[in-house]
Symmetry: C2
Subunit: 222 residues, 2 copies
DNA sequence: ATATCCCATATTGTATCCAATGTCCACGTT
DNA sequence: AACGTGGACATTGGATACAATATGGGATAT
């Protein structure tokens, strides 16, 4: 007997769903920085009580995406230019290490998928998609690595700056440059040159940081 | 008017207290790996309802300290040897960067405090204290750095392996070596030699990793 | 004796209700 | 008019009650 088995024990609970949706909305910038998250309002949107919402909010705070104050509620956390730069610096340390570990493990399928995402990235007409495709491209390459904790930390870092990356891809010619650099990284991976790939990746991230700082939203949220 | 003002808005909520206590109990190994966390039991211990307990559990899971399954409850998360090694590798990347940033900023007071902790570490007769003193020593040095996100991530990493470090300090002669290496790092900091300090720190962490792997608890928790 | 099914119990997930606190505006005082 | 005050309302924190699911043991059939 062969079924497409689903692990029912992992069926999403209400709080998980709320968490996932809110996280996505926040990292994509749909809910702007400083915007308050009203428990009642959210509970109504999901047709639940406030209990699962509060658990989702707890997790989001631990995740670093929101700030809460007792009896005052939660607001979407914002980053100063310095803080955003620091997140990029962390990425520039971790992601090259992940990629170096991943390159020897990459299958043909993995590389092909990465190339697809890379192409989709360059040809997509929809700016809102760029952010997703950019992230998917990176994740596909990292997926071959066994450094799962590195990847987890990196994902968290990405969550914090995803909004800014999206904005920066639209402004300036961030798209073009990202596209070129992605291709170079991909080719290094295909050539099996882990060192070159990781160096290119580091420069790619540092370049994105500098580009972001130039166009950073002027209001440094305290 | 000058009062010793307290920020009342930051008074700890029940869920915060529960989170803090559980976190401490877990990272110190007081609650062993795989042990279930019963909501009712914990709620009774704190004389609250299960609601704050559940929020604490949500945060602990996001923090990576426990694993939960729907309708089955939460258990303390354990690390395999490989996973623990990976956490150390991450620390070995981040903490030297923090220290390099911190050295030029260290005040006399900061260095004096670090030296005190270092001494307390070597003279404390209580093995259970070693883990705390070890961590306080590191934190004191890092405190001068402005890389708050790096420090946050590092703290999280420490939380995951704290238990193992404590065990390893007791076994073998981990204490002696840690003491010697701490002193060397401290002296490099006092001399203002950021490069040397960060290199020593990296070796210190990698050494701790190797020592840990030798004595790793034999049951690789899946 | 063994296996299977069913139900009692334990435990988690969620809804509803109450308490505690923050916010804001009307009101009065000067 | 400016300022301080008090109280109504909004919102969050927590407790209790109920629903959904897992677990384990005993009855029954073979």
């Amino acid at each position: 007997m062969k079924l497409k088995a689903v692990d029912i024990s992992r069926t999403a609970s209400a709080s998980t769903i709320v968490f996932d949706v809110l996280r996505k909305a926040i990292i994509e910038g749909e809910i702007p920085e400083g915007a308050p998250l009203r428990q009642d309002e959210i509970a109504n949107m999901f047709n639940t009580s406030r209990i699962p919402v509060r658990e989702a909010i707890s997790r989001l705070e631990e995740h670093g995406l929101i700030k809460t104050q007792r009896y005052k509620g939660a607001v979407v956390a914002g980053l100063s230019a310095d803080e955003a730069a620091e997140v990029f610096d962390l990425r520039a340390l971790l992601e090259p290490a992940i990629l170096r570990d991943a390159v020897p493990e990459m299958s043909k399928e993995c590389l092909a998928e990465a190339r697809n995402h890379c192409m989709a990235f360059s040809t997509s007409p929809n700016p809102m998609e760029w952010g997703n495709l950019n992230r998917v491209f990176h994740k596909t390459l990292y997926g071959a690595s066994n450094l799962r904790y590195f990847i987890e930390v990196t994902d968290n870092a990405m969550d914090r700056v995803d909004r800014y990356i999206r904005a920066q891809l639209v402004m300036s010619n961030g798209m073009e440059r990202a596209e070129i650099e992605h291709l170079a990284i991909l080719e290094a991976c295909e050539a099996g040159d882990a060192d070159r790939a990781s160096l290119l990746l580091r420069d790619h991230i540092q370049g994105a940081k500098l580009s972001l700082l130039e166009h950073f939203p002027n209001a440094p949220t305290s």
